[in-house]
């Protein structure tokens, strides 16, 4: 456990000595800020975060693979993985530690975006329940996205390949929901349950449903487990 946090802390400090964390925060806040401005200055101009959450979750989907692509791939490429894995640490501690480091950056980004609801509360009267639900949703989805990205980074030593793999997996889980509109068979049901978009939808309406939370938690668990297996497997190659 202590090793996990040691590795997470090192990962977090690595983000902030490279431009990556700053670029990621800027990217996320700039795009969500742009959409936020559009949402409150055009149309009905309501103090409503709902539509913004939909955009924010898509921005996280684009951002998570960028944050995570270097986690393990970079170390494999530079060879520093050898220094790390010959210390008395387990594969699980390495994978989970690195994952938590990226999650910490993501949480910081979400904290910065709290400026939007704060602004709304100054000039309007937003629904705090809906905002809380939205943020819980963003956190749950983001954590799952980072687990997917950690997995992508663990199966290659090329960061670009890791980024593309992560993005492809996440886009699949996003787009799979479209099947539920076009098809009428049992696929509709399965596709809807696997869809990030569908599972996130309830949060934007202010509903924190156990089955949605469970979906993102399972996604996190499955991909973290696969990352650990990939790390173990690397040794046997």
């Amino acid at each position: 456990m202590r090793n996990t946090f040691t590795i997470a802390a090192r990962e977090l400090s690595h983000y902030f000595v490279s431009p990556l964390a700053y670029v990621a925060i800027f990217f996320f806040v700039f795009i969500s800020g742009f959409i936020f401005t559009l949402a409150i200055t055009t149309g009905q101009a309501q103090a409503d975060m709902g539509p913004l959450f939909h955009s924010m979750v898509f921005v996280s989907l684009m951002l998570a693979p960028v944050l995570t692509m270097g986690l393990i791939a970079q170390e494999t490429d530079s060879g520093s993985i050898e220094m790390l894995m010959t210390k008395p640490v387990t594969d699980t501690e390495v994978a989970v530690g690195k994952f938590l480091g990226a999650v910490a950056v993501y949480v910081m980004i979400l904290v910065v975006t709290l400026e939007f609801p704060i602004m709304l509360s100054i000039w309007g009267n937003p629904d705090w329940g809906l905002i809380a639900a939205g943020y819980i949703g963003l956190l749950a989805t983001g954590i799952a996205f980072i687990a997917v990205g950690t997995f992508a980074s663990s199966i290659t030593n090329n960061q670009i390949a890791a980024w593309l793999t992560g993005t492809a997996i996440l886009l699949f889980f996003w787009l799979v929901g479209w099947l539920s509109y076009s098809s009428t068979s049992w696929i509709t049901d399965v596709a809807g349950r696997l869809s990030i978009y569908e599972n996130f939808g309830d949060f934007t309406r202010g509903i924190v449903d156990g089955k949605n939370v469970l979906f993102f938690l399972s996604m996190t668990g499955v991909f973290l487990f696969m990352s650990v297996r990939a790390l173990e497997n690397r040794r046997t190659l």
């Binding site: 202590r2 090793n3 040691t6 590795i7 090192r10 400090s13 690595h14 000595v17 490279s18 530079s78 060879g79 520093s80 993985i81 050898e82 220094m83 790390l84 894995m85 010959t86 210390k87 008395p88 640490v89 387990t90 040794r235 046997t236």
Partner: protein, 312 residues
């Protein structure tokens, strides 16, 4: 302290090492000597638990490196062939990161960091960013992190690679000073290094152990023979047989893929060049070239492998 039994490693169809077995006692300094691609790094990586062996077992300080991997690694300090540190961290910060992973308490980390910074001559550079350090200093940081937890076993893969002559001397002195408290296993492809530092040398070639002895005994074997290179115009089977009649000639070996060229091993201290020249001319074989030959590491291996086979 280190016990290796029948270690074999395949990379796909390629066999990197085959049936490697050896023991290292507590407090010994042992060199693993071999040319490039002999399987040294592969063996070192298996010893540290970084790579699993295809078959065979390794026991370090009483723990199996595969089934009790984390426990075994607690007793190992490892310096890989290329010191891949985190370039964005400062020296002391990196050392304390490693200290935490070794499970040291924060007061132990402070003491250990002070100790290795002193020991490895890092005092002036302890606040530098690792990415800005020269290769020599990175190597020292790498050595420092391996010593933090005072491991029972030190595994050093080519610890003097990329250092300048002064630094090489310093590192060798440091390694020698570690003997006794630590068991040291180092790999190198430089024969004098093994002689300078180690009590025992294990020679590996093409993934197999070909000799194991003290450096003195190995050099004695080497000095026993000097080699003369000859090239004749009229090469025939008689040459190998008849040259052997010259007193002092130990062996004649045709050079591979070079017709008419031979290596003649002679006893130490006897310069047989004039006698060999006269012998060849007298027999009318047409002497084209003759010269004495410096023994390179490759020759050492050839000598050792042939002699070992002769013994067996």
């Amino acid at each position: 302290m280190i016990s290796v039994e029948g270690l074999t490693k395949y990379y796909g169809p390629h066999r990197a090492i085959h049936d490697v077995s050896f023991q290292v006692e507590k407090g010994e300094i042992v060199a693993f000597l071999g040319p490039n691609a002999a399987g040294k790094s592969t063996t070192m990586r298996i010893l540290t638990g970084f790579l699993p062996a295809s078959s065979g077992s390794v026991n370090i300080a009483g723990f199996d490196v595969y089934s009790q991997s984390v426990e075994a690694r607690r007793h190992i300090g490892y310096v890989p062939e290329t010191p891949s540190l985190y370039p964005d961290m400062r020296v002391r910060q990196y050392l304390s990161f490693c200290g935490k992973l070794y499970g040291l308490s924060s007061s132990q980390i402070r003491e250990s960091c002070d100790r290795v910074v002193d020991l490895c001559g890092l005092a002036e550079r302890s606040d530098y960013i690792i990415g800005r350090l020269s290769m020599g200093y990175r190597q020292r940081v790498c050595l420092g992190q391996a010593l933090l937890h005072e491991p029972d076993v030190l595994i050093l893969d080519e610890p003097t690679l990329g250092l300048d002559p002064n630094q090489i001397v310093q590192v060798r002195e440091l390694i020698r000073s570690l003997a006794g408290d630590h068991t040291v296993m180092l790999s190198t492809h430089i024969l004098p290094e093994a002689q300078a530092v180690c009590e025992r040398v294990i020679i590996i070639n093409h993934g197999e152990i070909v000799a194991e002895d003290t450096p003195e005994a190995l050099t004695a074997q080497l000095r026993q023979a000097q080699t003369v290179f000859i090239r004749v115009q009229d090469s025939n089977a008689e040459i190998s047989r008849q040259l052997r009649d010259i007193p002092g000639v130990l062996a004649i070996e045709p050079v591979k893929d070079d017709k008419g060229a031979y290596y003649v091993s002679t006893e130490v201290g006897s310069d047989l060049r004039t006698r060999i020249a006269k012998f060849i001319v007298d027999h009318g074989w047409g002497l084209l070239e003759l010269g004495s030959r410096e023994l390179s590491l490759e020759d050492v291996f050839r000598h050792l492998t042939t002699e070992e086979k002769g013994v067996a």
